[in-house]
Symmetry: C2
Subunit: 360 residues, 2 copies
Amino acid sequence: MSRRKFIKNIAGASAALTTGALASPAHAARKRFVWKLVTTWPPNFPIFQEGVKRFAKEIKQISDGRLTIQVFAGGQLIPPLQTFDAVSQGTVQMGHGAAYYWAGKVPAAQFFTAVPFGMNAQGMNAWFYYGGGLELWREVYKPFGLTPFPMGNTGVQMGGWFRKKIEKISDLKGLKMRIPGLGGKVMAKAGVNPVLMAGGEIYTALERGTIDATEWVGPYHDLRLGLYRAAKYYYYPGWHEPGPTLELIINSKAWASLPRDLQLIVKTSATASNLLMLSEFEAKNLEALRTLETRYKVKTREFPAEVIKTLHQYTKITLDEIAAKDKLFSKVYNAYEQFRTSNDAWNSISEAAYARARKL
Amino acid sequence: MSRRKFIKNIAGASAALTTGALASPAHAARKRFVWKLVTTWPPNFPIFQEGVKRFAKEIKQISDGRLTIQVFAGGQLIPPLQTFDAVSQGTVQMGHGAAYYWAGKVPAAQFFTAVPFGMNAQGMNAWFYYGGGLELWREVYKPFGLTPFPMGNTGVQMGGWFRKKIEKISDLKGLKMRIPGLGGKVMAKAGVNPVLMAGGEIYTALERGTIDATEWVGPYHDLRLGLYRAAKYYYYPGWHEPGPTLELIINSKAWASLPRDLQLIVKTSATASNLLMLSEFEAKNLEALRTLETRYKVKTREFPAEVIKTLHQYTKITLDEIAAKDKLFSKVYNAYEQFRTSNDAWNSISEAAYARARKL
């Protein structure tokens, strides 16, 4: 370790150990920080990128200008999928995206976004804040010099747009579908050919029949992309992404260099943004659903029970296969499953039972 | 208006209009505020009172000691149910409780906590932050000089503990049950004799048969009260309180006197606390449910469909009766119902459909 690095680490550690802002040395408390935050989102991407910009603006105001965060959309400073590396290496101090984008580097990261048939937003937040989830996430990101926070959640997504009707599991066979991540791996077991494709290319590919199906986000974002003009069958629920958590990642050395009160401002604002983004998704999705149904005569369809049951079995096989090859994945999988099982038991007599009761 | 009052209001208005902390006059930005917050909760009441204490501590740290909030539990400074008046009159600057406690003063307030068969936590938050709910709430509290914020949510509660089995709606007839608010009014239509009773008295009353049934909160708080020793039948779901929002209320003149950056700190911390409290309820409830089931052999039971359907009909009658007599209630009821209807449509293909899919 170089002398410079050593001094930096010591300084970082002592800032992190300070128990309250009042105890911070005056010079550190008044120091001004100008940070860069890169995201994996297109410029002006509603809710996602817009939510990050609001977060940065708020922190500047709350900190009285002591922490200024300059926000860059994917590609403006670095390519979107280099966000993790750029923050890890300290090229920039912060990033916003989703942990499952980094599955290639660290498969265990996927549990911190969403796994098929896993927990919804409410379950994920309970796990992160009071069930040990965030501690595990920090452990998984530690070797990369990254400190993660949950910041945003899309809620349950839609199952996707299909150019033909899905009546049984064999109807999926041979379909080319834009579906990333674990959802794509599970679909592959049903004979789907999962393809990766950036948001901007999806509409044309679907409209021209280059792909037969696509998932995107939910009614609000799907409506904006015009997908209802390119495919007729709109399926629910989004079994593959039942409440994806978005992430704020911070370079751990940069984080340690912040005085304790600025750390708390970032942490609290990220928590508030976590709820605000989810609430915005909910409110905009319910409006967009009405527009799709009334103005564009879109009829939503439920995946048949056989299809869902089979995809659920394939999910378990897929997760078990990865766990057999990856110790860290297996560790997080076990912790996740333990919390999820209890959460399911509680959910089945609270939220799920209540949802049933209202429909009687 | 006195000259002093006028100057104070002008100062408040200009602070509120300031667009950023950097634009605040330096003297206002460095002024120190010491505020009192009274709650409706018992001292050390887990999650509720503890969450408020964490909120106050965090604000002190974030604001570098510029805003100190002294927290008092119900009865420590003033009786719990005088919280609304004390904050309204400016005796103290802040309060924490639940809007439906003030139904006697302003019936419309009930929609900002929970109404039977109404929205769950996720729906309430979407309504507050992005569906016009919070604007309506401010309008309803304006005549009282109060500025409200959502701050905490219990999630779906349990239906309650009964000393006898409920198999049909007529089994409720003649029961004495501790159930406050609209839930009690609805139960009364089924022949229940609803009684009010402070938390500390419930166990003994139920154990001695002074009451036949009680609702309280959820598994975590119910376990702590030992209710499983006093009644055998533990029913779900909590149709009467499907995601009660807790409230932070601030005296509007005190609020206007805060510089913009301190206002933002309070607002952001309240939003973060809103999510943290809900997450804590979820995590602690799922643990407590396991304890109740495994250690104390409690068997949870679902209210029969006929009971739920009838209570749902009685709920509509109850709300319509109040709306017919109270214009403001009617206004909020209409806005709430409009949002709820769209939220239900979205929920039925997102959260509810996903909950079903996982159980297949």
